[in-house]
């Protein structure tokens, strides 16, 4: 703590406490140090991360260790971690209202469903091609399908509550038989009405050729307020429209929307699902692949190299697909006039972002396989190592045996030696087993073998970095990366040439 006091005094620069006294000097120094930090990127990174990581991790372990041993100086070792924090914790309390919600909703929805179905049945009858077409008979037919509310039953329009008179005449909704004024009437086009019964065919057509759009998209005609004479209205009806009330219109539209939602999948949703499928496939494969790499790069023969290579290619192909699709999603054209253009764009960007996050996490961490020569080398090494271990074990066992025998001879009768020998045999087996178990692939080991990565892929990655660097306007970094790329290319061509020659 006394130290801290000193540091405080001279502590105007976080990096070079001794050298700098004033703020401006500190700033200047900071610029220099900062840029040198960047230089560090260019120079080299070899091993640095392991070091830094080890340092941090090591520190933390030390801290815990010290803290558990002595709590006398908690101030010095106070890191922000508390090992007990991330213990398992139950999900907090929850309460579910879904059932109560559904009970209330279903009561209401039932009513809608019944109403809608009734309307559809009537609509179907009204659309019957054999039904009379001429106006006089038509009215009778309509009345036979739908019981009309008698004219005298209502004094005013049920929707706008204006009373009827010479100017405001009574009209019947052809679907529910209710009465409303002309102003409140809606006109259902017959084409739209037919859609309810032929939608399956319609959607089939849509899937085959997305360019087909349904003609009567709006489905309803709103009579223009000013210049409607009775004649033109009659004309309208004759042309294939049906007078309905607002409630019926709402019900029909609701039904239409629900059907549409169930059946139409925007192009981009299809793409997205494909991408998700690739991702989950890749995630399924990874747990198979990783132990293979670890085992192979230890020189073990549990898995065949070829199998692993196959799996790797498969993985890379999947990642590639994810990349491609997400790019496609991002670049999907959005109709600028569509109402959700802005959000849609945001959404597509976010999808791309998450996909590239996914790639970064997985592809970058995808460990390379040893080449076949290296693999042989590794195998040989491992054999040697194993033999050495076994020899060492044997040696140790022998020594132990000798020692024990010595002890035995000292204290016990020679008759028991045989059984002890047996016991020792067990001991040796055990120890060999434990060697096998202890011989787990470690991070270090697998790093050694990461030499022969497919070069093309690396070049691709570097190109990606160059692009990022360019976007970030870090020119020197870019230069360095480009240099790397060039080296890589040279090496690649050299190898290609060699292969060709041989």
């Amino acid at each position: 703590m006394a130290d801290t006091g000193n540091i405080m005094e001279g502590f105007l620069c976080p990096m070079c406490m001794k050298d700098f006294g004033t703020v401006s000097q500190l700033q200047e120094h900071f610029e220099v140090a900062h840029s040198s930090e960047d230089k560090a990127v260019f120079q080299s990174l070899k091993g640095f991360f392991d070091k830094a990581k080890k340092r941090i991790l090591g520190d933390r372990e030390n801290e815990f260790g010290e803290n558990s041993s002595s709590d006398s100086s908690p101030n010095l070792n106070l890191s922000g971690f508390d090992p007990t924090w991330w213990e398992f914790q139950e999900l907090g309390c929850v309460r579910n209202h879904t059932d109560a919600f559904k009970a209330v909703r279903d009561a209401r929805i039932d009513h809608f469903v019944v109403e809608t179905n009734k309307l559809l049945i009537r609509l179907d009858k009204l659309l019957d091609p054999e039904a009379p077409k001429e106006a006089s008979k038509r009215k009778g037919f309509e009345k036979s399908v739908v019981p009309w509310v008698p004219d005298g039953a209502v004094p005013c329009c049920l929707s706008c509550e204006e009373s009827f008179n010479i100017m405001r005449r009574k009209h019947h909704c052809r679907l529910c038989g209710g009465i409303m004024c002309n102003k409140c009437s809606e006109f259902l086009t017959l084409t739209y009405a037919r859609k309810f019964f032929v939608f399956t065919e319609y959607f089939l057509a849509l899937i085959v050729n997305p360019a087909v759009t349904f003609e009567g998209e709006s489905g309803f005609l709103k009579r223009s307020d000013s210049s409607t004479s009775l004649n033109s209205l009659m004309g309208l009806e004759a042309e294939g429209h049906m007078r309905v009330c607002k409630t019926c219109r709402k019900l029909l539209e609701r039904r239409d929307q629900m059907v549409e939602q169930r059946n139409i999948k925007p192009n981009f949703v299809v793409l997205y699902e494909k991408m998700q499928e690739c991702m989950s496939n890749a995630n399924d494969l990874i747990p198979q692949y990783l132990p293979m790499v670890d085992s192979l790069s230890m020189g073990e023969a549990t898995y065949s190299l070829k199998e692993a290579e196959l799996l790797r290619t498969k993985l890379i192909r999947l990642y590639d697909a994810v990349d491609q699709i997400s790019k496609k999603i991002q670049n999907l054209e959005i109709k600028p006039d569509s109402p959700s253009a802005f959000k849609q764009q945001q959404l597509q960007k976010a999808i791309r972002m998450s996909a590239s996050g996914f790639m970064q996490e997985n592809l970058m961490g995808l460990q390379a396989l040893p080449t076949s020569e290296q693999y042989q080398e590794l195998q040989a090494k491992r054999r040697a190592e194993v033999q050495r271990k076994i020899a060492a074990e044997r040696q140790a066992a022998m020594e132990a045996q000798n020692r024990e025998r010595f002890n035995q001879e000292e204290s016990e009768k020679p008759g028991k030696i045989l059984s002890i020998g047996k016991k020792l045999g067990h001991v040796r087996n055990d120890s060999q087993d434990s060697v096998g178990r202890g011989w787990k692939p470690t991070e270090e080991g697998s790093k050694v073998s990461k030499v022969g990565d497919p070069m093309l892929q690396q070049m691709e990655i570097i190109r990606g970095y160059i692009k990022q660097a360019r976007e970030a306007k870090r020119w020197d970094e870019m230069e360095m990366l480009e240099h790397n790329l060039k080296d890589l290319k040279d090496e690649y061509y050299r190898q290609q040439a060699q292969n060709f020659q041989s």
């Binding site: 140090a33 922000g80 213990e87 309390c93 849609q344 998450s354």
Partner: protein, 542 residues
């Protein structure tokens, strides 16, 4: 007991329940902060949540039927209305609705009646109704929770609801103890108790051996802690730069580069910060220097990437490196800004005197030093004001106190009338009459001996002498020695054993100094887990 984990698990569960597919998260202003404190954007993107919407923006939002909508809202009247109109004309395909607190049957009915398109799949209560700042620290971000030293009704309701949510999310049904000297503490304790009784069904948890304790305290008992300059990293950043929902705004820093204008400090996603947040500034500086040294060393040791092997390493480490260099440059910037301010405003001297006043009884010498600070133009009026307030609290009843003179000097330094009145306000707020316990340790003989012992041992660090009152209160509580007269139980049942799980709430907000104290208690007393919370988190700006 980890509040961050509790909220995070809630959010994860929501996302999980909605199944695969593109998702949008629909929230209100409060829940947005709750979620952003526990989930990083990149993290949540990986879970197929691609859009974030605010419920207020109803009309301007665009219809996207192929999205599933996870709705996470506080159950306010306003939100229920907004949601009902949203459900009447749904913009998304399916809705999974979660409320952050108890919702009435009536409101469920309103929503159910609005949902005539059958888009709602779930309606649930997930009690993540607070801001989880650190694993052991929560806050409600309610500023100005008292009006003329009593509760205002909506704030009381909100606070009680929030506390109930904390308890529910941690699955604790506690005994409640409150600070006897504070009327507000008692009122709050009763409100919480009422909720527990009303929702008895919810609070039925598996019995633990020792019943947890909810301790409700009032800031008025220790008005000193928030007035002190802090020297631990997290507290300092909050004091000098201001942390708002783990974001800090650096745009006022001279010569700041563009991408560092606003930086995120989160122990969840930043290892270095998590390591150092409770360290003293000095130690923190040493750590940063170590980190920088590593960078410099590598730049000297290595020449160039030459072999393919090097290149491979480079490629493997590059993304990691970018992240790390981002972290380092962020912290270097923050720390250098901190030290700039420290130097510029003589904060070390100021802080030393603050600690003096808070911990030692030496009226005339301290008065002299305060007066001498008034002649230094570099010291901010804000800091002077704080010193005077501390002085006022400390020597409220001292016969020779020269408060009037100091307030006068403040006036000469151009401190506004408004600010000057704070001196008297703070006396009223946290003065002797308001305090229930012995903040400065004047009368308690054991405290005096403790101080003398400390004096003999020599002061460890002049800038961190002050220990918040909270640590001694908690210490007594843990040892089962907290006096019942000062901190009575609500109701008749009492805890016989030493408490293990303790949930503290500080009316009027807590400080990062106290958070650190709680963190240390958690670390150093095995078996005891403490969670601290406050109406808000203070810095001296109030």
């Amino acid at each position: 007991m980890n509040v961050i984990l509790a909220v995070k698990q809630y959010v994860s569960k929501m996302i999980e329940e909605s199944g695969p597919g593109m998702k949008v998260l629909l929230m209100d202003k409060d829940t947005t902060t709750y979620v952003s404190m526990v989930y990083a954007k990149s993290e949540i993107l990986q879970k197929e949540v691609y859009l974030f919407e605010n419920i207020d923006s109803g009309a301007s939002r665009e219809s996207m039927k192929h999205l599933k909508c996870i709705t996470f809202l506080r159950p306010t009247q306003e939100n229920v209305q907004l949601l009902a109109s949203e459900l009447k004309s749904p913009k998304y395909g399916l809705y999974y609705i979660y409320f952050s607190n108890v919702i009435s049957k009536q409101d469920v009915k309103i929503l159910a009646e609005a949902d005539d398109q059958e888009v709602v799949r779930e309606v649930q209560e997930f009690y993540g109704d607070y801001i989880a700042v650190n694993p052991h620290l929560y806050s409600f971000n309610l500023i100005g929770c008292a009006q003329s030293l009593a509760w205002s009704k909506p704030v009381l309701t909100r606070t009680a609801q929030g506390l109930a949510a904390v308890l529910l999310s941690l699955k604790k049904c506690p005994f409640i103890r409150y600070q006897n000297s504070s009327e507000m503490a008692r009122t709050l304790a009763e409100s919480v108790k009422q909720i527990i009784i009303k929702e008895a069904g919810l609070f039925e948890f598996r019995k633990t051996d020792v019943t947890p304790v909810l301790l409700i305290l009032d800031r008025r008992d220790d008005a000193v802690s928030p007035l002190l300059n802090q020297w631990t990293y997290q507290a300092m950043v909050h004091e000098l730069l201001g942390i708002e929902n783990s974001k800090i705004n650096l745009s006022n820093v001279p010569n700041i580069s563009k991408d560092l204008k606003e930086v995120l400090l989160s122990a969840e996603h930043d290892e270095f910060y998590a390591e150092n947040m409770y360290l003293n500034f000095g130690e923190m500086g040493t750590n940063i220097q170590k980190l920088m040294d590593e960078f410099q060393k590598t730049s000297k040791n290595h020449t160039k990437v030459e072999s393919i092997q090097d290149m491979k390493n480079f490629i493997e480490n590059y993304p990691q490196f970018k992240k790390m260099s981002g972290t380092v440059s962020k912290h270097v910037t923050v720390v250098s800004e901190l030290s700039r301010q420290v130097g510029l405003y003589y904060l070390q001297d100021v802080s030393e005197l603050e600690q003096e006043i808070a911990c030692h009884n030496d009226h005339s010498a301290q008065l002299q030093r305060i007066k001498s600070f008034f002649t230094n133009d570099k010291i901010r009026p804000k800091d002077l004001l704080r010193l005077v307030m501390l002085y006022a609290l400390r020597y409220e009843t001292h016969t020779n106190n020269d408060l009037a003179g100091l307030v006068d000097s403040l006036k000469r330094r151009g401190v506004s009338e408004d600010k000057r009145s704070l001196v008297h306000a703070v006396l009223e707020y946290g003065g002797k009459r308001a305090r229930g316990s012995d903040l400065f340790g004047n009368s308690d003989p054991s405290a005096i001996t403790k101080r003398i012992m400390k004096g003999l041992k020599g002061v460890e660090n002049v800038y961190t002498q002050h220990q918040p009152l909270l640590s001694s209160t908690l210490d007594q509580l843990i040892r089962g020695k907290l006096r019942e007269a000062s901190y009575p139980y609500l109701g008749t049942s009492q805890l016989k054993d030493r408490p293990q799980d303790i949930i503290v709430f500080m009316i009027g907000g807590c400080t990062f100094e106290e958070s650190k104290a709680v963190h240390m208690l958690n670390r150093n007393t095995p078996g005891v887990k403490i969670v601290l919370g406050g109406s808000s988190i203070h810095n001296s700006d109030r």
